[in-house]
């Protein structure tokens, strides 16, 4: 058995700005889905709260989700997880998520976030397959994985291909040549693998399909990919297409399109205030006050609503 990667040692999850932007975009989407008639506050949220529970705190406080289940694979932090549980309505299970997914209630709608901080492996893919096997119609599924090259320093596409053959053989499709595994292609390879695992779980379920919503690529250090969407029928598709979601920059209704890149530009507090006072801005707007590369300005205008402000707090 593969040992769980102990990322809870490494990073304070709440201080990763791109990840925080992603979480806030998710919140934004959930609000739009609520407006489109999906009762998000009645959904059950199942995720990996680890010891910080950032996602749980946000979803409970801002979306009113009150059925919350945090699953943690590492028995070593069982007490810590329980100690840090933020609300009484959070349930905790110390188990691999694959053992839990089949037991998710068929009488509820679910919001399941498989927020791995590791490179995709066969266990993850089987979790994804199970998710789309069991999740009820109208449920939301999100998958986050690390899309850096697998393996050792000094490895190249040939070794990376070997890794994916080992872990994801049934999902590689036509990606057979070494050249398909160049570093720049790895996010695309991951998207294809995850999409195939999603489809596999849905085979035989004639009533529903996977309706994509998210395809994010971002880096707070490591490059991460998040794929997400709804398990739904034609009716849900129509509701989504009739909502504000379709005119939202970061939404991806089709996974073959390029991912939305969450880029958090480096700007000072003073610069932010100035930029914000001009937002939303047209594509041609520029600022005379200070130098800012056009790319950064464009990125800023796409994420400013979701950009966290950090300040030191003496407690």
């Amino acid at each position: 058995m593969r040992e769980p990667k102990e990322s809870w040692r490494k990073v304070a999850y709440d201080l990763r700005p791109a990840k925080q932007v992603e979480r806030r975009m998710l919140l934004d989407t959930m609000q739009m889905l609520s407006l489109a008639g999906f009762h998000i506050s009645e959904y059950q949220y199942t995720g990996f709260g680890s010891i910080y529970f950032v996602d749980f705190i946000l979803f409970h406080k801002l979306l009113g989700i009150h059925r919350l289940l945090s699953v943690e694979i590492s028995e070593k932090i069982e007490k810590r997880v329980n100690f840090n549980k933020p609300f009484d309505c959070v349930d905790i299970l110390i188990k691999p998520i694959g053992d839990v997914i089949p037991t998710l209630s068929p009488d509820r709608k679910h919001f399941l976030w498989l927020d791995y901080d590791t490179i995709v492996n066969s266990d993850n893919l089987s979790d994804i397959l199970l998710a789309t096997t069991y999740l009820t119609p109208e449920s939301l599924l999100l998958i986050t994985v690390d899309v850096e090259p697998p393996g050792e320093e000094g490895d190249g596409p040939r070794q990376w291909r070997a890794y994916f053959r080992e872990e994801a053989e049934p999902y590689l499709g036509s990606a057979t040549e070494v050249r398909h595994y160049a570093k720049d292609s790895l996010p695309r390879i991951n998207i294809q693998i995850i999409e195939k695992a999603i489809k596999k779980g849905l085979t035989g379920r004639s009533d529903v399909e996977f309706l994509p919503l998210f395809n994010f690529l971002y880096a707070d250090g490591h490059q991460m990919l998040t794929i997400g969407g709804m398990i739904g029928s034609k009716a849900e598709r129509r509701r989504i297409e009739g909502s504000r979601l379709i005119e939202t920059d970061y939404i991806r209704l089709d996974l073959s399109k390029e991912p939305f890149i969450i880029k958090v530009p480096n700007v000072t507090r003073k610069e932010r205030l100035h930029l914000d006072s001009n937002m939303p801005c047209s594509d041609t707007w520029e600022t005379e006050e200070f130098e800012i590369p056009p790319d950064d300005l464009a990125a800023y205008s796409q994420i400013y609503r979701f950009f966290p402000a950090y300040a030191e707090l003496l407690l």
């Binding site: 058995m1 694959g98 089949p102 199970l130 096997t133 069991y134 085979t203 035989g204 379920r205 004639s206």
Partner: protein, 460 residues
């Protein structure tokens, strides 16, 4: 422009020579048994879905004498001269014989109920063609019967018009009681390869095992099968269950315009053998269509191993699962025509396979925890596994749907410690002599002296 029609006729030779190649002799014989059991289902009004998995009540249990006498029988016997199968399962009506039974496949406007196990309408013909050149068949119901006698070689020579595709029947009278109604098929002039197989002596053993396994849910409950005069006992279908172990169960209906398929999945730990082991050979998934075993002890990607689940490994030998597919329309079931495999393209099978993976996950996790180093079993898991009692599948199937789970009772902290030490053999012998117990083992001597010291020197 001129238009012509190309010939697209069936040819008898195809059915005689090609059609019989993809199926083993044993499976052909099972096809004939399927037909007998179908007659039983029809005549005794057995509801496969609701009856088969019902817990066996005590008055129909195997040992009960009353049932013993009255079970309908199927008798299979063969030598290198002749093959025979005779049943008392209710028979085939002359109407069905005339309209349907000898067709190759069911016709579009066939309105009668398809056989629940027969399904494809080819088993009888394929079995006859596979086995020999001459067959006699006789069947009686309570309303009427028929007789047939055919030389297959002669019959196949005439093959020019569609009217050559008929078989002469002699209609006969019915019998008075249902218990006497049945069908008998006798095949003579066996094909050389069949004679060879029969003479090499392996067929009977294989067939015995296959019948015991394939009809495990029917044998000694609805029917008794004799193979060359020996009663075939069912291979029991059991799982390990206890207060601590909850066997996993899942159930769903797959609906389509052609009908409903009910899928019941059960997975958990196998029961331990009397030697307290889990035999590797019987581990894996068993797939049953309308109660008939189609795939046994599967450890391949067909049932999710290496495709959602980890590859099957020796340490998973404690895994056992049963996947039941039921439908009144047997064509919706995912079996192949030989009933030895699954049709991978079937949507209901694909959906079931994903859920078989889900149901198996926690069992696999348990077994992983049990063999962390793969050398020895972890104590806590082993104790749980050992306490499991073999429980019949019918009992387990009555459980509500729930994932596999283990309730770990906090075991009382250990209060004992092991003492081991070396002693001079002479000294041990002296003590034995002193206490006049020459047969004691060295360990017993050690225990005795320890207790003696405790009693004499350390009063409470």
């Amino acid at each position: 422009m001129t238009n012509k029609n190309a010939n697209a006729y069936p040819k008898k030779r195809f059915f005689l020579e090609m059609f019989t190649r993809d199926i083993s002799l044993e499976d052909c014989i099972l096809d004939l048994i399927d037909n007998s059991i179908d007659a039983l289902i029809r005549s005794r009004h057995i509801d496969i879905l609701s009856d088969l998995l019902n817990p066996v009540s005590s008055d129909e249990s195997v040992s009960s004498n009353k049932q013993w006498q009255t079970l309908p029988t199927i008798t299979v016997s063969f030598s290198d001269k002749e093959f025979r199968i005779t049943d008392k399962c209710g028979g085939i009506s002359p109407e069905a014989a005339q309209a349907e039974v000898f067709n190759f496949g069911h016709s579009n406007d066939f309105s009668g109920s398809l056989g629940q196990l027969g399904a494809y309408g080819i088993g009888l013909k394929r079995a006859i063609f596979k086995i020999g050149n001459h067959f006699d068949m006789e069947s009686t119901t309570t309303t009427g019967g028929f007789k047939v006698s055919i030389d297959v070689k002669e019959w196949s020579k005439k093959d020019t018009k569609i009217s050559d595709w008929t078989i002469p029947l002699e209609l006969t009278k019915g019998v008075k009681t249902l218990t006497r109604a049945g069908t008998s098929i006798k095949i003579r002039d066996l094909r050389p390869e069949v004679c060879m197989r029969i003479n090499d002596g392996s067929v009977e053993g294989i067939l015995h095992t296959k019948i015991a396994q394939t009809y495990a849910l029917f044998l000694e409950r609805y029917v008794r099968i004799y193979l060359n005069n020996q009663v075939v006992q069912p291979e029991t279908m059991v799982l390990g269950q206890s207060e601590e172990i909850q066997v996993g169960k899942d159930q769903f209906d797959e609906k389509s315009p052609e009908g409903v398929v009910t899928v019941i999945l059960i997975a958990g730990l196998a029961a331990r053998t009397p030697k307290n082991t889990w035999p590797l050979s019987s581990a894996g998934w068993y797939v049953l269509c309308n109660g008939r075993v189609v795939v046994a002890a599967d450890k391949t990607d067909l049932t999710g191993w290496g495709a959602g689940l980890a590859n099957f490994h020796y340490k998973y030998r404690g895994f056992k699962g049963f996947a039941f597919f039921f439908s009144e329309n047997p064509l919706l079931l995912p079996w192949t025509t030989t009933k030895r495999g699954l049709n991978r393209e079937s949507p209901v099978y694909q959906r079931a396979r994903n859920r078989m993976v889900g149901l198996s996950k926690p069992v696999v996790t348990f077994l992983n925890d049990m063999y962390p180093s793969e050398v020895s079993e972890e104590i806590a898991e082993r104790e749980i596994a050992e306490k499991a009692v073999a429980t019949n599948i019918n009992r387990v199937a009555a459980n509500p749907s729930k994932g596999f789970g283990v309730v770990r009772k906090k075991s009382a902290p250990k209060t004992t410690v092991q003492i081991a030490f070396q002693s001079e053999k002479d000294d041990v012998a002296r003590i034995k002599k002193c206490v006049r117990e020459p047969s004691w083992s060295a360990a017993k001597v050690g225990e005795y002296t320890f207790e003696h010291y405790l009693r004499m020197e350390c009063p409470e």
